[in-house]
Every structure is written in structure tokens, then in C-alpha cells.
Amino acid sequence: MYSFIAKRLAIAVPTLLILIIFSFILMFAAPGGPFGGERPPPAAVLANIEARYGLDQPYIVQMFSYVKNVVFHFDFGPSFQYRDRTVNDVIAQGFPVTLTYGAWSALVAVVVGVSLGVAAAIRQNTWLDYLAVGITIGAQALPNFVMAPMLVLLFTLGLGWLPGGGWSGGLLIDACDAGDRLCFNNPFGGAVRFDYLILPVIALSTSYMASIARITRSSMLEVMNSNFIRTAMAKGLPMRRVIFRHALKPALLPVISYLGPAVVGMITGSVVVDVAFSTGGIGQFFVNSAFSRDYAVIMGITILVGALTILFNLLVDVLYAWIDPKIRY
């Protein structure tokens, strides 16, 4: 097992390097550049800027010095678009935000999705099943760029319960302001506030929740019809024990392989959620940095997402071995 993990981590390094090289090639192949915009400055000014960011060097030199800085100094360079910030600043500021609402979304998606899926499977072809299937189809059909503004219209403009956007420090803050809803002072210091979190979590988790519910339902149905469950039932074990002790673990295997990339997707945020709720998260930079040709931010985020994907896929494989005794590495 340990040698398996070590091997996988060793493969991660060349994988990331290939990712970097491909991203570099794609980036430089795209027309246009990060500076100038509609009114390109005089050539001398442009030359100064390019010299400052090393863009006057040959591509191969740029790539090598980039990799060197990342590997030896963990320095992702200065942002081209935001002149007063480095990529490390951009990620350090935005990633905790998406990590917060992403982790909560993952939790909500798993808990609600698995419960719905299991309930639908063991009450197959009853009203509960139809309801669960209806909800999940609806949730999957409704894209989050439609749902986000609808949530704001309902909860902010209509009911006035939740703020329409912003982050204001997020979940853990120093103290609640007077009149803050859903904010709880911690007797041991600090405070927890949920009001800015709820709408982004709903918008982000819904479609993941639906997928998880549907995967759980079909895999649960399959497991419930298998021989060892029939045996368990025949032995007269109570239903609850059959489900939680015997059926759930194997039924969750497909859910776990789905969760690897899905959790990465959630904790690195979504451009739709970031834009719709102005959270200041890192999701919006996926798109913005590409449009503004902010090479350094594009690379920084690509590496972040790449590394997280490798990590979570490894985690999934380890979980597999733990759950399924048939799998041995």
C-alpha cells in the first residue's frame, strides 16, 4: 500500500511537468498578449513592460525559469493583469474562499445526495422514489447560472433573508455585527456566520447532489439485488443492518470514484458562483485570466487544479482499497 502511494506520488511529478508544458504551448499559441489592450502603448513602453515580466526572452527560457521558480522557491511570479499582486497573493486570497464554500457544497452534496439515492433505491417504484428521481432530474436540468440569479431574486429581493452576494470574511469572523442573521458568537472567541455562505453552497452543490443521488440509487439497486444481500435477508437480519452494514459500502464505490474529480471541481470554485455572488473566490480567475492573457495566473491556477486532481484521485484509489477487500495494490 505504501509503495503504491509512493509510486503514485512519483508519477505526479512528470504528470505536472507535462501539464505545465502543454499549458505553456497553448498559452503562447493563443493570439494576443497580456499588455496593451485596445490602445497599445508606444513600443518603448511595451518593451519596458515585457522586459519586466521576462516576456522578451525566448519561450523555452521563460518556461525553464518559470519551472525553476515554482520548484525551488514556490514562487508563481507576478500577476500580469493585477500589477500590485503576485500569483501567490491571488491564490492565497481566493482559494480559502472557494475552499470554504466548496467544502460545504461537497458535504451537502454527499449527505443529501446519498440519502436521497438510498431512500429512492430501497423504496423503488414508490412515491418516494418518484419524488427523489423528479428532484434529481430537475436539479440536473437547471444550470447554476440560471439558479444563482433566481436564488438572489427569491432570498434577497423577495424575502430579504440573505445578502445577494459578497463574502465579508466568510464563515469564520472576529465577531458578529448587530443585526447579522445566522451569525453565532463563539464563547471561546470569534464567531461563525453562515449568511454569505448559503446561496453559493446551494448554487454549487445542487447539480453535484443530483448526480450523486442518481449514481447512488442505481448502484444501490444493483447491490440490493445481489446474492450476498439476499443471503443476509434470508438470515433474517433487520433491514437497517442490511443496508448500513452490508449494502451501503459496496454501493458507494461508484460514488467515490465520481467524488474525486467532483470535489476538486467544488473546492476550486466555479466561475458562475464567483461572478453571481461576488465572493472574490478563485473560480472567476479560470476565465478572467485566460481572457486577459494573464499567463502567470493561468499557469498558477492550472498547476493548483492539476495537483489537487492528482491528489484526490490518489485518495479515491486508497479509499477503494479500504472499502473493497477485493482490491489490493
Binding site: 494576443g32 513602453v45 440569479p149 438572489v152 461576488s278 473566490g281
Partner: protein, 546 residues
């Protein structure tokens, strides 16, 4: 936190000490208008994109410039109509040849850390903007100002002290420029010229613009900046005119989606929305009268014809270009397609530019039927018709509103002239390459004024302009531009340049921009007549609601 509290306390103490606030029924009143002031003098506004930089030497966008104008103060500043007012300088003198400007600074101007603002800070600021090491994209502004040796210093060919700015003593700043520019004092209200605090910048490097490091000389200081989320500025107790400043705190929220910003305005979370989708103006104007404002914004929307070697033969024929221009019904585009208070345009120069009078352009006073008839005739003369239809491709950067305009223009050309039009949209950076390398036939363009004088537009008409992507050459326009530089009254020359450009249809002006804002009813003094859309929080206030 403690710093902020201290600051608020000291501000309050100052207000009480000077007796600047008159309390009546628990409300202070505005010293000039006598309007009762709200007890909470803070407001929130939304901007569409995060600020690329708030360093005055690097600022490159409209919203970043607004932040810089609150945090810093230049030699001159503006009132609500855009008229030049004393800033850190109490006034200036111009030499007889118009090439030397001598500004006298007030002695009570201070930085937020208490240091006096001296002439050397202005010299340092300008030199830093020009310095090749700073690599400011806006270094070109110094060339537009005509500051002596600006181009050479930026190119690294001359030392920094060769730049045409000097400080003979602590309270005198002398600018030397290369040609007379009556509008020069107005250019000193631009952030690139603002003073900068050398000790702070040298101590903190690129991180000097962080809230905890920044030292500024404007009416406000930076108190919080969470990138991609919000920027907060609060009162600078050291500001020389602090007693007459009313707004306490300003929060800029970065909201990438203008519809979302509008919803949050309606929910009462925001007081001013900067970029309302233009198409929503008619509806908002009916539903929220007095809150939706359409203000002239000094930009012009036009199409360029590729007249370079790579361009199609047809567009090198003036009759074809004229016909294409005439056949565009600008009224339909401004009134029906955009409907946000834009105005039809026949010149590049924006109608609201100070002192501008449009030249006599025949087409402008015709009816659209007359224009269409003339266009059909010109097209036939040029040899295009049903048996030999012209084909043209319009390329524009991806955006709903550019697409609507292109669809409308294409339809007008098709219906009136039988032209086969194809539309192509490209992502922004790709589009700029396409246009800049003349890989197009007709391309969408826009230009915004840098200062309130026609040459900010007419400079583009010259053959040598870097923004002449149509690559036409007209010796008469170039000669007039040269003459205008030194002319006593350049206005007739500017008009003649526009006239020539229009006669030859070198490009196709479509409309003059307007920008639509939502402004809460209790927000007072928001400038509606500043063509460059500049606003200063120190001139605003919030009235008490009844």
C-alpha cells in the same frame, strides 16, 4: 482595526473642534445647500472588474482612476462640471510661449502620515511613471501631455532628471512642454501625474499599495482592500480640506455581472451602480424615475474600413465607403438597438467635448431616405449591384451589444445596397491582433477621450496614429494636425480634419456613448456634467431621508 478607530475618533474630534457641523434635530446640514445630512455618511458602489492597479503611476482603467483621485490629489482638480480647480497647487502661471507652466503649491497640504506634500513629491511621482523600471502602461500619457523628453526617458535613452518637470523650491513645480497646450492644466488632474511618497515606495516596493503600507495625500486613505471583492477608503484626517469633506467612508464592491449588481441595488445593498446594461435604461427610467441616469460618456463607436494592401479592393473606392456609411441608419441603432441615451455620430469627436461644433456634414442633415437613395447611386457608380453584389465581413469582439449593432448594420447594408454581409466575432485579445494586423475588412472600434479637447480624437485621424487600423493616408489631415499644434485657435482646424475624414469616409462613425448609472435618491451632488465621468467622493454627500 485600532488604527481605523483612532482615525475615526480623530476625525470626529476634529469636526467637533472646528464646529464645522451644525447640528439641527440631530442632523448636520450641508454648509452650501442647507440640506439635512444623513447621520451615516458612507456609501457603497459597484464596479464591474477588479482594479488592475491603484498605484497612481500604474492606474490604467476608469474605475482605478476614480480610486486614485480619492486617495491622491494632483496639482489641479475638477469641480462637478469638470472645470479645473486648485488642488495641491493654488494656481499656476504660463510663460508667454505657452511652453512653461509654473505651479505654486499650498503649504498646508500633508500626506496621511503627517509629512508635508512638497514639489519634490510631484517630480518623483512623474519620474516614477516615466521610469522604464516601473514599466507603466500609462507612461504614454506623459507624451500626450507633451512633457519634455517624455518619450526618450521612457525608452531609457535619457536619464530621469531630463524629464520636463522640476522643483526649484519645495512649493513650486515647473513643467516644460514641447508645444503650447491650452488644456494642459486639466491634464494635471490625471492620476499618472499625482505626487507619490518616496519613502513609502522605497520601503515597501510593489507592496506599497497595500492598505497597511499606503501613504496618500488625498481626501481619503485606503483602509481595506480584498482583491476581487471590495475596496474601502475612509477619511484622511491630514487632508488640508478635511473640514469641508462630508462623506466618511466609501466601499467599492467588485461585481462581475451588471445584472447582479442591479439586483443588489434594488435590494438596497448598493447605492450607486456604475455599469448598468445599457439596454435596460428605458425600463429602469420608467420604473425608477430619477434613479436611472444616462450621462454622456466621451467615447465614440465606429467601424474601420481596411484600406491597406491586405484590404479588399472595394473598400479602397471612396464611393463604396460613402455608400456603406450613408446606408447605416444611426437613429435606429441609438433609439431602438441600444436605447440607453446614446447619440448618432457623424464625426469621431464626441458631441459634448468642450467648445466642439460639428462641421457641416451634408449627410447629417438629410433624411434616411435621401441618404439611402444617394448610397444606392454611389454603389451603382462603383459598379456593384444585383448582378455583382459586394461581399463584406464585419468583425467585432464578442459581446451582446456589439453583435446587435453588427446585425443591424449588416441588415441595413443588405436591404439598402444588396451587400452580402457576414459577421465574425472574436474573443478580445484575438480580435485586437486581427485588427492591428489588418486581417479584416470592416472592424468594430471605439475610442474614449483622455482629456476634454478635440485633439484627443482628431489625433487618431492622422496617418501616423498607432490606432489608425484602417491604414488610410491623407496628407491634408496630417498637415492640419501639425498646424493645429501651434495654432492660437485650433477649433476650425479640428473641424476641417473631421470634414475631410467624413468626405472620404475613411471610417464609419456610428454613435457617441452614454453611460447608464443607478444612483440612490439620497446620494447628492453626483456630477452629471463631467464628460470624462470623473467624480470625487469629497464633493458628495448623503441627505437625510424624510
Amino acid at each position: 482595526m485600532t488604527f481605523k478607530t483612532k482615525l475615526l475618533a480623530s476625525t470626529a474630534a476634529l469636526l467637533i473642534a472646528t464646529g464645522g457641523a451644525v447640528l439641527a434635530d440631530g442632523h448636520a446640514t450641508h454648509p452650501d445647500t442647507g440640506v439635512a445630512l444623513a447621520s451615516d455618511q458612507s456609501f457603497t458602489y459597484s464596479v464591474l472588474d477588479d482594479f488592475p492597479s491603484i498605484d497612481p503611476a500604474l492606474v490604467e482603467d476608469v474605475e482605478g482612476a476614480s480610486v486614485a483621485r480619492d486617495l491622491f490629489e494632483g496639482l489641479m482638480t475638477e469641480d462637478a462640471t469638470g472645470t479645473v480647480q486648485p488642488g495641491v497647487a493654488t494656481g499656476f502661471e504660463v510663460s508667454e510661449d505657452g511652453l512653461t507652466y509654473t505651479f505654486t503649491l499650498r503649504e498646508n497640504a500633508k500626506w496621511s502620515n503627517g509629512d508635508p506634500v512638497v514639489a519634490g513629491d510631484f517630480v518623483y511621482g512623474l519620474q516614477r511613471a516615466a521610469n522604464p523600471e516601473t514599466a507603466s502602461e500609462y507612461a504614454w500619457y506623459l507624451e500626450v501631455m507633451g512633457v519634455e523628453n517624455a518619450a526618450a526617458v521612457t525608452a531609457g535613452e535619457m536619464p530621469l532628471d531630463a524629464l520636463g518637470i522640476s522643483a526649484p523650491d519645495d512649493f513650486t513645480v515647473v513643467y516644460k512642454i514641447d508645444a503650447p497646450r491650452p488644456y494642459f492644466p486639466q491634464m494635471t488632474t490625471f492620476p499618472t501625474t499625482f505626487p507619490q511618497h518616496r519613502a513609502t515606495i522605497e520601503a515597501h516596493g510593489d507592496e506599497w499599495t497595500r492598505a497597511e503600507n499606503m501613504v496618500s495625500n488625498g481626501a481619503y486613505v485606503l483602509s481595506d482592500y480584498v482583491p476581487a471583492e471590495k475596496l474601502v477608503r475612509s477619511r484622511n484626517a491630514m487632508y488640508w480640506d478635511n473640514d469641508n469633506t462630508i462623506i466618511e467612508e466609501i466601499t467599492a464592491l467588485i461585481i462581475n455581472d451588471s445584472n447582479q449588481a442591479l439586483t443588489r441595488y434594488l435590494a438596497g445593498e448598493i447605492d450607486v451602480v456604475m455599469d448598468v446594461p445599457a439596454g435596460q435604461f428605458p425600463r429602469l427610467n420608467t420604473e425608477y424615475p430619477g434613479e436611472a441616469l444616462s450621462l454622456p460618456s466621451s467615447c465614440t463607436y465606429y467601424y474601420q474600413f481596411n484600406q491597406s494592401d491586405s484590404g479588399p479592393e472595394a473598400l479602397k473606392d471612396v464611393r463604396v465607403r460613402q455608400a456603406l456609411s450613408l446606408a447605416v441608419n444611426r437613429d435606429i441603432i441609438t433609439d431602438n438597438v441600444l436605447a440607453g441615451g446614446q447619440r448618432p455620430s457623424w464625426t469621431l469627436t464626441h458631441w459634448a467635448i468642450a467648445g466642439w461644433e460639428q462641421p457641416e456634414i451634408a449627410a447629417a442633415s438629410m433624411t434616411q431616405d435621401e441618404r439611402n437613395a444617394m448610397a444606392v447611386e454611389l454603389m451603382a457608380e462603383a459598379g456593384y449591384g444585383d448582378d455583382n453584389p459586394l461581399t463584406v465581413e464585419i468583425v467585432y469582439n464578442t459581446s451582446d451589444s456589439h453583435q446587435s449593432v453588427a446585425v443591424a448594420v449588416g441588415q441595413m447594408w443588405k436591404q439598402t445596397l444588396g451587400v452580402d454581409v457576414t459577421l465574425a466575432n472574436q474573443e478580445w485579445a484575438t480580435f485586437l491582433d486581427t485588427r492591428g494586423e489588418q486581417n479584416y475588412e470592416v472592424a468594430r472600434s471605439g475610442w474614449c477621450a483622455d482629456y476634454n479637447e478635440p485633439s484627443t480624437y482628431t489625433d487618431l485621424l492622422t496617418s501616423g496614429s498607432a490606432y489608425n487600423d484602417g491604414k488610410y493616408i491623407d496628407a491634408d489631415i496630417d498637415a492640419l494636425a501639425q498646424e493645429a499644434k501651434f495654432a492660437e485657435d485650433a477649433m476650425p482646424l479640428y473641424r476641417e480634419m473631421e470634414q475631410i475624414a467624413s468626405d472620404n469616409a475613411y471610417f464609419l462613425p456610428i454613435y457617441h456613448y452614454a453611460s447608464v448609472r443607478m444612483i440612490a435618491p439620497d446620494m447628492e451632488n453626483w456630477p452629471t456634467e463631467n464628460l470624462l465621468q470623473n467624480w470625487y467622493s469629497k464633493d458628495l454627500y448623503i441627505s437625510a431621508s424624510e
